[in-house]
């Protein structure tokens, strides 16, 4: 529900620049937005829960004997406030419950499991891949990363290095797919545009025509679009 079939968005800030985005993000409407917010809150809650669990495990091991009491609330901007806050959580009902739970789970199981959970809650809901074409300069491909922690991987190819852009077919798994490739001068392998999503033929063709039209002579583009 949170991702759709790959769709194409085109942006044309100037006549000599065009950006094609292929994304699995759906069109947002109110229920979907609510769902997104809910998932976000859920992710935060799960993340905090895992943190508390880890904390109580960690705290139980080292500081369990150290029973500090806070007679009054420390200043908000003090480091003591953090400890105070942790103390409140640990002594609360949920904290004692999680401490009990943590004592039952061995650390060898808890650490990988929590890492996995962190990875899952940090995953992006959709993938976006882009092709930016600037006449006289070159093209840039970019692919969004899996998680929120890293940024998109991009690759810039200057115009004089581009030998050709074309659509090809190849076997992939149990399928034959169409894909857009850029042949780069002096490189063994071609660069595949939209390597993760591998959108369907009509999208690939549209991007191909648009990219050629933008990159090369404008006349070419008109003819290509009409054909």
């Amino acid at each position: 529900m949170l991702r759709s079939q790959p769709r194409l968005f085109a942006r044309r800030p100037s006549p000599t620049t065009v950006e094609y985005l292929v994304s699995t993000s759906p069109t947002y409407n109110l229920p979907l937005r609510l769902l997104l917010v809910t998932t976000f809150i859920f992710r935060v809650l799960v993340g905090l829960g895992v943190l508390v669990l880890l904390c109580s495990k960690f705290a139980r091991k080292n500081y369990s004997s150290e029973a500090t009491t806070y007679p009054q609330t420390p200043d908000l901007l003090n480091i003591d406030y953090v400890w105070y806050f942790l103390h409140i959580i640990a002594t609360s009902k949920a904290g004692t419950q999680s401490a009990k739970l943590a004592s039952h789970i061995p650390a060898t199981a808890l650490l990988p499991a929590s890492l996995l959970i962190f990875y899952i809650i940090l995953l992006r809901t959709h993938t976006t891949e882009a092709l930016l074409v600037i006449r006289g300069l070159g093209i840039q491909t970019s692919t969004s990363s899996d998680t929120f922690l890293s940024t998109a991987t991009t690759r810039f190819i200057p115009t004089e290095k581009i030998q050709d852009i074309f659509v090809n077919e190849a076997f992939r798994g149990f399928e034959v797919r169409y894909y857009l490739v850029v042949v780069v001068e002096g490189e063994e392998d071609v660069v595949v545009v939209f390597p993760r999503l591998l959108p369907r033929r009509h999208i690939v063709e549209k991007v191909w025509r648009g990219a050629r039209a933008c990159l090369y002579e404008p006349d070419w583009g008109k003819e290509g679009k009409s054909g």
Partner: protein, 479 residues
Amino acid sequence: MPYNIAMVSDFFFPQPGGVESHIYQLSTKLIDRGHKVVIITHAYEERTGVRYLTNGLKVYYVPFFIIYRATTFPTVFSFFPIFRNIVIREKIEIVHGHGSLSSLCHEAILHARTMGLRAVFTDHSLFGFADAASILANKLLKFSLSDVDHVICENTVLRASLDPLMVSVIPNAVVAENFRPRNYSSSENGYQVAPLPQYLGPHDTITIVVISRLFYNKGTDLLVAAIPRILSAHPNVRFIIGGSGPKAIDLEQMIEKNVLQDRVEMLGPIRHEEVRNVMVRGHIYLHPSLTEAFGTVIVEAASCGLYIVCTQVGGIPEVLPGYMTVFAKPEEDDLVAATGRAIAALRANKVRTEEFHDEVKTMYSWTDVAERTERVYDGVSGVLSEADFYGYDITDAGSWSATRGRSGVQSFALIDRLKRYYGCGIWAGKLFCLCVVIDYLLFLLLEIWAPRENIDIAKNWPKKEKVDRIQRDRSKFGR
């Protein structure tokens, strides 16, 4: 009505061979006739993926064994997902398998029937049925032929347990352009130039050409016995013998014994592309073979404008019309007599050998083969009525097996298919049925797992532009 046809075989270029060139020539001619043809074969070294050949002939080199290295899928079904994908994206209607020893072809026929497509099978094998390999091949054949719509054979050797009405005989063809006679004026510009008759004087030398592998079954012994007698009876005659084999030594002994070195020329082994250059040096082609299924070499020789003397064995009498050939019984006396008749006929200038080429071209052209294959496609897809396709009135249902739907065309219903497979043998029948059922389940699974609407339809190779379109473009450029 144009069809979308998939030719499936393990054998295709870059590997050289007869089946390969058959598929290529047939596909090219079918494309010329307006059909769409794709070829599916397995990947060769350094050749994987989708390629285009001349004329927009698309070839899928399927990376067969690489897809699932980890999981050991039974090979019978591993081809199905990718085959289904290709069939859907190319909108294939008829699957045409080639070569009885190609497992890819048998698999494709099984899957094609499961998917509800028409299947045609061409048998290229010319080998017998006695040795172990052919028994195995026969069993495999029985499996895929149980459910195939139509079978095409190159010669008239029929298989057991096959309905004879399901079998067509379409002979091999010859690329006549590669076997032109000497001084042939090509009519490429559209003008048909009548070939000049070549007159032979009474004392001109007549050259007899023999090109064959020098084996017993090719009648080399007959040749050894006949050559001295022919040469002593006709003074202005020479022999050119091409080919090699165990009987070459007999020929050489004969030449030395009779001191015929200046009248018999032994060329040794000849490559196929040189055959024409040897043939055009002669006037008569002598074919003393003891057994022969088809005899492509006779057609090639006639195409080069040679008068044919051959033994009346096997399928040879059906190959060429009577006025191109002089037949002999496979014995020494008759062969000598027949050669004598041929020489006399040539000396009397009774034979218009210069016209042979054009006639052979029309008889054994790939265009003709493509036309006849197309007729088979028409027949299996129900465009032709049964009476037209099978040649006689078959309205009585008794002549057809009960498991067929429309007579002559195999019904797609799973139960009918199972019935056909079950009849294959006590154990084999059950095994085959199991395979078919699994294949069908796999098909249903694939329909869920990789839905049809998610498969892109491939773009067809652009056809040649119509004349008016070209003219319009010209006028556009002219302004």
